[in-house]
């Protein structure tokens, strides 16, 4: 049985790839994912904003209150240097490369154009096999137009691609007016893969305290429908690999992603809820399903239910109520 797949030029032994999450924070848990059968791992994101913030915060608090009072001209011992910046992350990438045999995909969230490029190069130099650009961005500025945001994605990707040689994936938000066009533009800009989609944590309200609270809700497999649709639509229209992320919880989800035309199915919530051992279960189930249903390889099913391949391509284009209306009509007839 051939479970292998190709993802942005990397030959992977199967299509299950743990996406960026706290599970990749230690070498031990990445090794556990490898042992469970993960074909590659996307490491948690390096956040430029966090690095900037930490530096500023450290500088601020180390000097806060200093040189104000004769007895206490400072409050901390002098240190020659602090291990600031991305070093911890880069060391982690290097350690993961040493400790595992699977491709290690770095992940980066930048804020400045210089930061994207600089840290991308750092991650490449640290030994990552590929890089995922995690464009986690909520445009709240009322003066910012959609096209400006689209250009920002494309420009960031181009700038990074010009500077590094390893494959580059871009993790997208689902909130583009024209997703197809956006995918095409990114494809033309050199994206090696599109990762669909970023789940933005939606804040909640605490009615007792009257506060906005961060609310991390793990995905359900219902959420996979969105990437599934867009992978199916885009399959064959772009050169870039495609990964589904959000809502992949079981073997059937992986099968659906593959049939839509995806190259890998990324898992996260399932592993956080039920442990990294789920990878091996899913792989076993995948293999059994393929045996039962007489598929020789993953490649055989990839794109088999894409918009191009299905009997009724319009099914991917209709909104829910249209489909319901038609069903009603059909019943009447």
């Amino acid at each position: 049985m051939d479970l292998s797949t190709k993802y942005m030029g990397l030959k992977l032994k199967n299509p299950i790839v743990p996406s960026a999450s706290p599970l990749s924070q230690t070498v031990d848990s990445v090794k556990a994912m490898e042992d469970a059968g993960a074909s590659a791992v996307v490491v948690y994101s390096l956040f430029e904003e966090q690095i900037t913030h930490e530096s500023g915060e450290l500088d601020h608090y180390l000097s806060y209150g200093a040189e104000s009072y004769a007895e206490a001209t400072s409050y901390y011992p002098e240190q020659e240097a602090y291990n600031m910046g991305p070093y911890e992350y880069l060391d982690h990438i290097a350690n993961l490369k040493k400790a595992t045999d699977i491709p290690i995909i770095g992940s980066l969230n930048g804020v400045s154009s210089g930061g994207w490029v600089k840290y991308a190069k750092n991650i490449e130099q640290a030994g990552a096999d590929a890089l995922e650009l995690n464009v986690y961005y909520i445009p709240t500025n009322v003066n910012l137009t959609g096209s400006e945001i689209e250009n920002m994605y494309v420009d960031t990707l181009k700038a990074v691609k010009e500077q590094i040689k390893i494959p580059v994936a871009i993790k997208l938000s689902p909130f583009f007016t024209s997703m197809s066009n956006m995918a095409r533009r990114l494809d033309n800009a050199g994206a090696d893969a599109l990762v669909m989609f970023n789940r933005f944590y939606q804040p909640d309200f605490d009615l007792e305290k009257l506060e906005v609270v961060p609310n991390l809700v793990l995905s359900t497999n219902w959420e996979m429908r969105l990437p599934l649709r867009w992978i199916a639509i885009l399959y064959g229209q772009i050169k870039a690999s495609m990964a589904a992320t959000s809502g992949v919880h079981g073997c059937s989800d992986v099968l659906k992603v593959m049939m839509a035309g995806g190259d890998v199915a990324m898992v996260c919530s399932e592993l956080l809820m039920n442990g990294v051992g789920r990878i091996s279960t899913m792989l076993k189930e995948l293999e059994n399903w393929m045996i039962e249903n007489e598929y020789d390889s993953i490649e055989m099913m990839q794109g088999s239910m894409s918009q191009k391949a299905v009997q009724e391509p319009a099914a991917f284009e209709r909104a829910n109520y249209m489909k319901a209306l038609q069903s009603y009509k059909t019943t009447l007839i």
């Binding site: 500088d59 000097s63 007895e71």
Partner: protein, 1191 residues
């Protein structure tokens, strides 16, 4: 040899040599010497090696007494050992110093000499401490400049090994220890060459070794002790020559030749000043001026080696022509014939004159005088006054210089206009705030000029005594020649004022020269700034023809992400307009310095500083100065007209920086000052202050409770009183049955508020229409200032709530009590003062307080104004500070004294029963005094008693009248920080709680020595970085509460107001009510923890939630009822320790220094927390029912 020129302070110069010459360094923090220990610890943590290629072991002790004991032990065991100290620290070392000298053991103690606490504490410099150790048998070598500190330190380390006599190497606290100056750094090879390893081996040979055993430290009897003491004489006789040999060896290496006594001046001088320490530099400058420009025949004799005193060398150093000598001592020895150096000089001269070969045909006239106590300025004008005095036929002996002694008339007059500062030196003064980074920037500028150019540079920094909103004045000198001016700048070419609002408080242009340059940071546009200047300043600018520049540094800082730190911007302005360096070169050097300073903290920090430099010049403007004064703005009076005369006449002088002019007659004789004086010092330091929204408020009282400065006050009062209220005065209906029908006001003292916003953070009430707002919200201060000043005055006049009718056990009730600790100089957002204030509210009108030295003694007792207050009846806390180490004993003594006088009063009362009346006597003697109502009743009875006694004439009646107030219960409070309670004062604290007496101990635990700048104490958490624990503390925090619980009869509580304010209140009430010793350990967030102090209460919650700081009360009273005395007031840890500690810089910074060690220490710390909780919860669950019968 090519040696590096570096610009460092005196402490670093000493520590550099000491570190390289030592194997063991025992340390303990005390200002101004702490820096030497801190650097040693940092260097060891970084792996820096000594001259033998090994890293010294640096270890902090629990006190200077402990440090000297450890030094003694290390020396006796053969290691080359040193320590650093000052002031009371040196006094605590004296017992060991006798031992070390008695055993002829080589070592060097480096001392930044400081005043000793007498009628008052002072952290500043003089020779009181070293003079108190002069009899111990130690050699004493003095340095007068930073270069000398490095040089003499090296000479001392050589000489001690060669002479076997231990050395105190001393230099003036602050003036030298903290002055930054350019010096030539000795190389490691130099230091190596100064030490003869043979002598080191000899030292080891003499050490205690089981392989070659002997005993040392015997007890001796009348038969031989005396002879034993005399056996050392030959070493002392030889020592002066040994030191001179070391000086000669040093000269061979470096070219700098020193002598035991160095004479400077006219070879045929008739008048000579003998002086020791940094004053010698000022004296030298004045002497050179007077000999070259005024052709005076004078000279200066600098004393280097004070002990053993080389009479022969001293006589040799004096010119043959000398007729008069003035000896200046930087110490005071009340009751002596003269101060120590004076007496030595007289003796030396007499001995010489009595010898076979007298140097002079006639004994020179010698006068002695005191100068420079507590870093009092010692200027060339004062030096001249002394020389002028010597000219007189009958010069004044035992004079003082630098003050106005209008009582015993010891002082010499001097002419302040005599200035010797030359045009060859650029002199720049900068007025700033501690928070704006002015001093840091100036230190940076000195480094740039000193190390990147051929120029010499000197910097000295003056801070005020407040920990929040403090003003700094930097004094910088630059020039082609070495700078020896050890006094503040008198005439400045350049003055920078980095804060516009300082113009209100200071005459910043007072010292500027004609044609000088004035740089002002102004938030006002350049077109408007002129008209907003005070009238006097405009006149100064015009009359002195100043070059006037302005910049809006805060806008530049905001635009470049610098926040409130304008240091880099103002530094760039200084270089751009002062011409000290060509502009482009200066910019390059500033950027290089930025890289050096901030590079280690991340590129982004460097980047934003670069942006600030680049953004500065475009916003720097020269103002076209009009030819006439346009302003009518006058500087407001320093204090209100309503203030008492003493405040207006004396304290106000100190407030406006003119304390040097206060004459002796205006100072109290015995250190006694009036209470409640902070109310007159309106500092207006907050940019934003809280504003009360009465519609949203639920009247819980939490805002007032957490307010560190008592600037949020609450009153409930008769509604009719609102009729005469000012127009903008706010009030609402009071909530709650007890307050039915009353008006309720929360009033903010906006002029006293420091803007910390703890109140806003803790406010639980949210505005339902805009949830971002609460019942108290921060708003700009200036628009509210005038109206709220009036409102606050009105509020203060409203009657206080009747204490006897309040439920003080509730937060709301307790906060209606008047705080009797107000507007202190504590840090904005201080975590200690809310507890202190709460005690003052609950018991202040009958409390006597013993306060350990530390933050609380500084914000509680540092002049000019002090925060301990009194109520309308004139009652309030009586407060005193004894020492750092003895506070528990000090408070215990107060308890004994009060108990005895109460007992004696009762005895007298019984004896006067017939005169006073049985009913009154019995009711007084049997009063329980358990609550406010009882106390009130007792006060009434005592008042009645005093009325009766005043009419009786017997001694018994008059004696009782004097002490009758002791019949009203007094509350003794012993307060201090963790440095006192856990470390230096623990022995006393332990003893005091074991005595069963009714004392209340409040430990303000910041887990670090906060006042001296964040050194590790035994309260410091495992894994925290602190000074003296630069690599992170590897040991667990001492469990002080558990140790106290071990006695069984001590009330013990651990509290954290931010986690449970009700438990805090209960614990304080229970502790006071407990008729025995009680100790409350209060978690106090602190500026040394490294986060926004507005979130201090949240961090307290995290500390509790993580199990780091379990809340509990251990009340021995419970045992009587068969109940477990220990009650846990917090639940089992619900968050991981890391989720608390890594929100604070003190822990988090270790992650950035050494991630592996961080993980290791975190593992230990979490295990410690788990273990502690397990232990506590088991203890709290124990069955005490069996104990009931036994009581």
């Amino acid at each position: 040899m090519d040696r590096k020129k570096i610009t460092i302070d005196g402490n670093e110069a000493a520590a550099y040599v000491a570190y390289h010459n030592s194997e063991v360094i025992a340390i303990y923090p005390i200002t101004p010497s702490s820096g030497m220990g801190e650097m040693s610890d940092e260097w060891a943590a970084r792996g820096k090696k000594n001259i033998w290629g090994t890293i010294p072991l640096v270890s902090e002790l629990q006190s200077e007494g402990g440090a000297s004991g450890a030094v003694h032990g290390a020396l006796q065991s053969g290691a080359l050992t040193t320590t650093f100290t000052a002031s009371q620290g040196l006094l605590l070392m004296i017992p060991n110093m006798y031992k070390i000298a008695g055993e002829l053991t080589p070592t060097v103690f480096h001392v930044s000499a400081r005043s000793i606490a007498a009628s008052a504490l002072s952290i500043f410099g003089d020779h009181s401490d070293v003079m108190a150790a002069r009899q111990t048998g130690w050699a004493m070598l003095a340095s007068s400049s930073n270069q000398e500190v490095m040089d003499m330190a090296a000479i001392a380390h050589r000489a001690t090994l060669a002479s076997r006599i231990p050395f105190v190497h001393f230099f003036d606290g602050f003036r030298t220890s903290h002055e930054v100056n350019k010096i030539e750094q000795l190389t490691v090879a130099d230091l190596r060459a100064m030490i003869d390893d043979k002598l080191v081996r000899d030292h080891r040979e003499r050490a205690l070794k089981p392989d070659n055993p002997f005993i040392r430290g015997t007890a001796q009897n009348p038969d031989v002790y005396f002879q034993g003491r005399e056996a050392v004489n030959k070493f002392y006789n030889a020592c002066p020559d040994v030191v001179q040999n070391a000086m000669d060896k040093f000269a061979e290496l470096t070219g700098r030749q020193y002598h035991l006594f160095d004479y400077f001046g006219a070879p045929d001088a008739k008048r000579v000043m003998v002086i020791m320490g940094s004053g010698g530099e000022s004296a030298l400058e004045a002497m050179e001026y007077m000999t070259t420009r005024m052709e005076e025949k004078i000279g200066i004799l600098k004393v280097r080696l004070f002990r053993p005193f080389g009479v022969e060398q001293f006589m040799h150093a004096l010119p043959d022509t000398v007729e008069k000598i003035a000896v200046l001592d930087r110490t005071k020895e009340p009751g002596s014939i003269g101060e120590p150096l004076y007496q030595d000089i007289i003796t030396a001269l007499n001995e010489n004159m009595d010898s076979d070969k007298p140097k002079f045909s006639k004994m020179p006239k010698v006068i002695g005088g005191r100068y420079g106590l507590s870093s009092k300025e010692f200027t060339p004008a004062m030096v001249k006054a002394v020389f002028d005095e010597m000219k007189k036929d009958k010069p004044k002996n035992h004079f003082t210089i630098g003050i106005n002694d209008d009582v015993t008339h010891t002082s010499l007059e001097f002419d302040p206009s005599f200035v010797t500062e030359g045009d060859d030196v650029v002199r720049a003064m900068f007025y700033g705030l501690g928070a704006d980074g002015t001093v840091g920037a100036n230190k940076n500028s000195i480094k740039i000029i000193g190390e990147e150019t051929e120029n010499y540079a000197q910097g000295y920094f003056v801070y005020d005594s407040k920990k929040s909103g403090s003003t700094t004045v930097s004094h910088l000198r630059f020039g082609k020649n070495e700078i020896h001016s050890t006094y503040l700048i008198q005439t400045a070419n350049f003055i920078g004022c980095h804060q516009f609002n300082l113009l209100e408080n200071f005459d910043v242009l007072e010292n500027i020269v004609d044609g000088g340059t004035f740089l002002l940071n102004s938030p006002y546009p350049k077109e408007e700034v002129w008209d907003i200047l005070p009238k006097k300043m405009q006149a100064q600018i015009i009359e002195k023809n100043l070059n006037f520049y302005v910049i809006d540094a805060y806008t530049v800082a905001k635009n470049t992400g610098m926040g409130a730190r304008i240091n880099t911007i103002m530094q760039t302005c200084f270089f751009a307009i002062s011409g000290v360096l060509p502009k482009d070169e200066a910019i390059t050097q500033i950027k290089n310095a930025i890289k050096k300073t901030y590079g280690g903290k991340g590129e982004i920090v460097v980047k934003k500083n670069f942006e600030a430099v680049d953004g500065t010049l475009a916003n720097l403007y020269k103002i076209d100065v009009p030819d006439h004064v346009t302003s009518q703005i006058a500087r407001p009076p320093v204090v209100s007209d309503k203030a008492p005369d003493y405040v207006k006449n004396t304290l106000a002088m100190m407030m406006k920086g003119k304390g040097d002019l206060v004459p002796v007659s205006e100072m109290p004789l015995d250190g006694t000052f009036p209470s409640a004086t902070t109310q007159w010092e309106k500092r207006n330091i907050a940019l934003e202050v809280p504003e009360w929204d009465s519609d949203v408020c639920i009247q819980c009282g939490k805002c007032a409770m957490v307010c560190p400065h008592a600037t949020i006050r609450i009153k409930a009062y008769d509604k009719n009183l609102t009729e005469s209220a000012p127009e903008t005065f706010k009030w609402t209906e009071a909530r709650g049955k007890e307050y039915d029908g009353l008006a309720y006001t929360i009033q903010v003292a906006v002029e006293d508020c420091t803007g910390c916003s703890l109140c806003v953070e803790v406010c639980p009430a949210k505005n339902k229409r805009e949830t971002g707002k609460k019942a108290i919200n921060m708003v700009p201060q200036i628009p509210l200032r005038e109206q709220e000043r009036v409102n606050y005055d009105y509020f203060l006049e409203l009657p206080e709530f009747d204490r006897t009718k309040l439920n003080v056990g509730s937060i709301k009730g307790s906060q209606l009590l008047q705080p009797l600790f107000e507007y202190s100089g504590a840090c904005s957002g201080c975590g200690e003062t809310p507890y202190v204030k709460l005690v003052s509210q609950l018991f202040g009108d009958r409390a006597i307080i013993a306060n350990a030295t530390g933050c609380s003694s500084i914000y509680g007792g540092n002049l000019p104004t002090t925060p301990w207050a009194k109520n309308k009846e004139g009652r309030g806390p009586a407060w005193s500070n004894s020492l750092f180490e003895d506070n528990a004993e000090f408070g215990f003594g107060m308890r004994l004294s009060i108990d005895k006088q109460t007992e004696y009063a009762a005895e007298l009362l019984k004896g006067l029963e017939n005169e006073v009346g049985s009913e009154l006597v019995n009711s007084i003697l049997t009063a329980e005094q358990k609550d406010e109502s009882d106390i009130y009743d007792q006060r009434q009875r005592v008042a009645q008693l005093k009325e009766k006694l005043s009419k009786l004439t017997s001694d018994e009646a008059q004696n009782l009248l004097m002490i009758a107030d002791y019949l009203v219960k007094k509350s003794v409070w012993i307060m201090g920080g963790d440095g006192w309670a856990y470390d230096i004062g623990y022995g006393g604290l332990d003893h005091v709680i074991a005595q069963g007496k009714n004392v209340n101990i409040l430990v303000l635990d910041t887990e670090v020595y906060s006042n001296t700048g964040g050194q590790m104490s035994k309260a410091t958490g495992l894994g925290a970085v602190a000074k003296f624990a630069a690599a992170g503390r590897p040991n667990p925090k001492k469990d002080l509460g558990m140790m106290a619980m071990g006695y069984g009869n001590v009330y013990v509580a651990q509290i954290a107001m931010g986690a449970n304010d009700t438990q805090t209140l209960k614990a304080i009430l229970e502790a006071e009510a407990y008729d025995g010793p009680s100790i409350i350990i209060a978690y106090s967030h602190c500026i040394a923890h490294g986060y926004d102090l507005a979130k201090g209460m949240e961090h307290q919650q995290l500390a509790v939630d993580s199990g780091h700081w379990p809340l509990y009360r251990f009340n021995p009273e419970n045992v009587k009822e068969g109940k477990n005395p220990l009650r846990l007031d917090s639940k089992a840890p619900k968050i991981k320790l890391q989720d608390y500690i890594y929100t604070e810089t003190r822990y988090k910074m270790l992650q950035k220094i050494d991630p592996e060690r961080t993980k290791y220490l975190l593992g230990l710390a979490q295990a410690e927390v788990n273990k502690k909780w397990s232990h506590y919860s088991q203890l709290a669950a124990m069955d005490y029912s069996g104990a009931k019968e036994q009581v």
